[in-house]
Symmetry: C2
Subunit: 201 residues, 2 copies
DNA sequence: GTGGTCCCATGAACTGGTTTAAGAAAAGAC
DNA sequence: GTCTTTTCTTAAACCAGTTCATGGGACCAC
């Protein structure tokens, strides 16, 4: 007998939506039906640069990173996602143009994926969801702007402190080189910064 | 007799909208009626950090910059706008929270401003506009992401070349220190970079 | 166990960009 | 016009962060 593939429950997502808009049980069922459960093993990719990003992925379990690979082949982490977060190359998903980012599983993951066509169909059936996804886009925009402003105005040590303060769970869970890449510094320099910061507290 | 205050024609904006959605003459009139014409003298502010950004401004004539002031009082240019562009602190405008950016006129300007309530009312009367403004938000998001990726992956000289290639009109029109600030370098270093780049071509 | 492989730490040499300072050129102010 | 202020350039000293090299520890696989 092959190992059972456990299905992915939509509960976590429905709870997340409920924090922003109120759905009837029927509407919640419509949402649940539109989602495609997906299991991803560590090192597998949810999005590949160069191809159109087909899905937005909601993380039920696991951890992923979105990263940009520059012309010299260096990777730059742009975004992480753990349980209760969405992840995608949003620019690609929205405009249906080739992705500039890869999205890779850092742990085995359970995802709920929503493709572009299913999303449009959902908007017809449950118009309230437009509000929910507009809020998600706004949040993404605001977060992206804040990150950009910090990266130009703060030195590496301050950026590291902010990161620790903002995402305490994440720092535990990620290899340091991924944190370094996110902060825009080398792992060697992060090591030096950490020495500073950690011996203070 | 006081000098006549010339009114600001909505034609440029209506043409801009027509490139994305098709409006009937009646709908175009509704849009025109929702806009607030505004003249801004050089050095006046359209948005002030700390206050909620009330308007999105469409530039009919003139040039503006949006900039962030960091904790040490240094300014960082984030965005420029000339004729046929929109400018605002979009994060603040969308979420109606205090702005982190200032928007300042670099030349005397003629703007068409749209406040948040007027926008919501327009959505009711002319639903097609939701598409138009969704596209504007998508474009802003994509542009912001590209800029962030370039700023972490390219050295200053390459960033300067990209800027020249992408916005040839802008470079003519702006003081170099504003370009330097946009590129994330000092005016002194831009001067050195320019010497390099200009003597090649 | 022991031989990979990956991950983190440390230190020395180096580099892209800043700072400070000073002068020349351009733009406002009156 | 001419005086003042702002803008741009150049150059030397400096610094935040990189690169390169090395060693040590944890986690496998077998």
């Amino acid at each position: 007998m092959p190992p059972a593939i456990p299905s992915v429950s939509p509960d976590l997502l429905l709870t997340n939506i409920a924090r922003h808009v109120l759905l009837t049980p029927a509407e919640a069922a419509t949402v649940a039906a539109a989602l495609r459960p997906r299991h991803l093993r560590r090192r597998q990719f949810a999005v590949q640069a160069g191809e159109v990003c087909q899905y937005e992925s909601f993380v039920v379990r696991g951890c992923l990173r979105a990263f940009y690979t520059d012309v010299n082949g260096f990777e730059h982490n742009v975004l992480f996602a753990i349980e209760d977060w969405w992840i995608a190359d949003l620019a690609s998903y929205l405009t249906q143009t080739p992705a500039t980012l890869d999205v890779e599983a850092l742990e085995d993951c359970e995802l709920l994926q929503l493709d572009r066509a299913a999303l449009e169909a959902l908007y017809e059936q449950v118009p309230k969801l437009e509000r929910y996804f507009r809020l998600m886009l706004q949040n993404a925009f605001v977060a992206q702007q804040q990150r950009a402003l910090q990266s130009i105005s703060l030195p590496a040590e301050a950026r590291y402190r902010q990161f620790r303060a903002k995402y305490p769970q994440l720092e535990q869970r990620l290899p340091q080189r991924h944190v370094a890449s996110y902060l825009g510094i080398t792992p060697e320099f992060l090591s030096k910064v950490r020495k500073q910061v950690l011996q203070e507290s």
